[in-house]
Symmetry: C3
Subunit: 282 residues, 3 copies
């Protein structure tokens, strides 16, 4: 983790569970642009399922590391708005994150090598950029967006936004080692119906060059390099683009199969006979 | 309302009922950028339910007032496209609005202290920026986007876009005073399933410091400051982030309860015994 | 087709079937901005139905021609990712297109007068902008976005991105001439429930000034200039904003009527008695 000063590039990304039918996303954008009309706002995702902090965390982990140095990522999935969870700004790698300290940033901060944080408590000089009284239900607009705008515009430095803050420990679901292999679980499905697990390419590399995948109903799943390699309707396992083992039904959706529901177990065992391609990602 | 000249900041926001599956939103953006490739376009909402002018008006009211001076808000929810409703540009506060004069802008113009409008009828100098023949079904692309682009880029002034226009009177649903209190109605639900009413914090402040809320089936609803204050499953009333009384089921959706359907009546009465927190917004 | 050099304006549009719930769109944006933080990204559509290349092609045709000269259109609807379809960049008119050569660009290239293409195979100088090993399942992020960013930023010229490539022939559904008229088909429905056909205004103009429209169940459909001209509930035919004949139910959705399902035939015949207004578009 760099300890140098954060140099904003005026890019702000937005990730929320607000959906795109209400005024909430627009209000965030207005607050950001009133602080600095030249900010470059980029929507990442507003369709995080309502209050699904884990899903929001996965979106941030999958997208934020690609952004250029100096980007501010504003993220609001905040079931505890108005209660005691801390409003924070965090730095990790060369990027910044603004939102609630409820685990939303745990995965991306870990992916970027860990972060350091401040609790948002503006100084008197910055106070005019925040509403006099924050809404009890919309800290995205009244707390997080002003903080993100001030940081991204250079009007405030990281250190100006509040006192040092120890990030809340995040409960991370981790794959478990089992005899001769690993057991992971299906965390979610993407838009194409692929069932994504919490087993990483690195987890599998530890098992050796060959492995086999078994679903909770005992089905053994063939291993493929890409979706197009399998005949339509066949269930295949592959390492997806974000580095996680995923189970796909070629040309179909894995949502429709019982053992591929979210939460389902996926067992991976070493297989000496196989030359499976988990480490060949291209 | 300022009568000074409108000074565009090159920001254009977009609010439509076009959804995000078709080419319509992209066509608007192309037309705007062909007039000025440096315009900064910001999507507010494209998921206004088809032809739901009232919902579009609520999105504009909830988002536009946060934008910086000189912003142009392009909004198209236009069931009467190709018929006699006027295409307009309106100024209110330090912001501009472009779209059909069908009530879409009534709430936000009122919130900004009232507006003045022009009917879009381009002068011969501006005509080359509009198609020779406008589509009868897509004035968003052929009339409103060119007008918004010309105004936002500074290529045209408000006065250049057409003759003065008297805004059509808008039918506004207003809460009704009833014996000892107010009766409002549920206008819609937001993404989180909260039932939003047309009763404002200001309406309630007139009743006094304490009040009680009753649904159409006689249920009395407890008053909370924020969602997190109530145990899961409890129905609570609170002043939402846009200043309207809303009814929420903590950790759940109010859509699923009969008396909380859209259109349902909500009665608010003074309650001397209560020290309810409607005026404490944070 | 201009054979002059492509002069990028730093605008990049994005069209995908990624939806807006996952990290995929955000990853594209990050890759583009890491190449050039000043690129102006504009979402066209991310709700192309999964792997529906024809729908993606219609969105591009309906939106891209409106953009200013020098725009780069990045489009990813790619059922064959990781298999043999070519990754390309194409020029047509004064615009550029980047994505898979699977028919996605056929309609918009034809609308712009035809295009010329290169197969993306970066030179050693450009290789550092691409990942060392591309994911087998996400060429959008690892191949197409870097190529689009390099072209839009001016860091690479069209000719630098790879060798000349002959575009794959696209199977285009075309209307068929039948005795005294034309038979087209309903290709899709837009968000408002209008049934769009593959018959163009130009096709109809060849029939003469008057014509009549018949659905597959024999219903004759009245011809209108715009939706608002017909009484609510009436089925009407009109030339839509993208120049295609469409069948609408005034104030309702054509999805709900059997003969108006996708794939349904629509017959158009010359009608000497009619002075129908197909060529009057507004």
């Amino acid at each position: 983790v760099s300890r140098g000063a954060f140099r904003p590039n005026r890019i702000v990304t937005l990730t929320t569970d607000f959906g795109t039918s209400d005024a909430y996303v627009g209000a965030l954008k207005g607050v950001l642009l009133r602080i600095d009309a030249e900010l470059r706002l980029h929507d990442l995702c507003h369709e995080v399922p309502p209050q699904d902090v884990a899903h929001g965390g996965r979106v941030l982990r999958g997208a934020c590391p690609y952004f250029p140095a100096g980007t501010v990522h504003l993220a609001v999935v905040d079931p505890g708005v108005g209660t005691e969870r801390a409003p924070i700004v965090a730095l990790a790698g060369d990027q910044a994150f603004v939102g609630p300290d409820n685990g939303l940033f745990a995965e991306v901060l870990a992916a970027l090598g860990g972060g350091r944080a401040r609790r948002i408590e503006p100084t008197p000089e910055l106070a005019p950029h925040f509403p006099e009284v924050a809404s009890a239900t919309f800290h995205g607009r009244d707390v997080f967006a002003p903080a993100a705008g001030l940081l991204a515009s250079g009007l405030a430095r990281f250190e100006d936004l509040g006192p040092e803050h120890a990030l809340a420990a995040a409960a991370r679901s981790r794959s478990r080692h089992a005899k001769g292999g690993l057991v992971g679980r299906i965390t979610h499905h993407d838009r194409f119906g692929n069932a994504i697990t919490d087993l990483t390419a690195a987890d599998l590399a530890e098992l050796g060059p060959g492995y086999r995948v078994t679903l909770s109903d005992g089905t053994a799943v063939a291993i493929a390099r890409t979706y197009g390699d399998a005949p339509a309707g066949e269930t295949v396992a592959l390492i997806g683009s974000e580095g996680f083992l995923e189970i796909a039904i070629a040309g179909g959706s894995a949502r429709s199969r019982g053992p591929l529901a979210a939460g389902g177990a996926v067992r991976v065992e070493r297989d000496e006979r196989s030359s499976a391609a988990a480490s060949r990602r291209g």
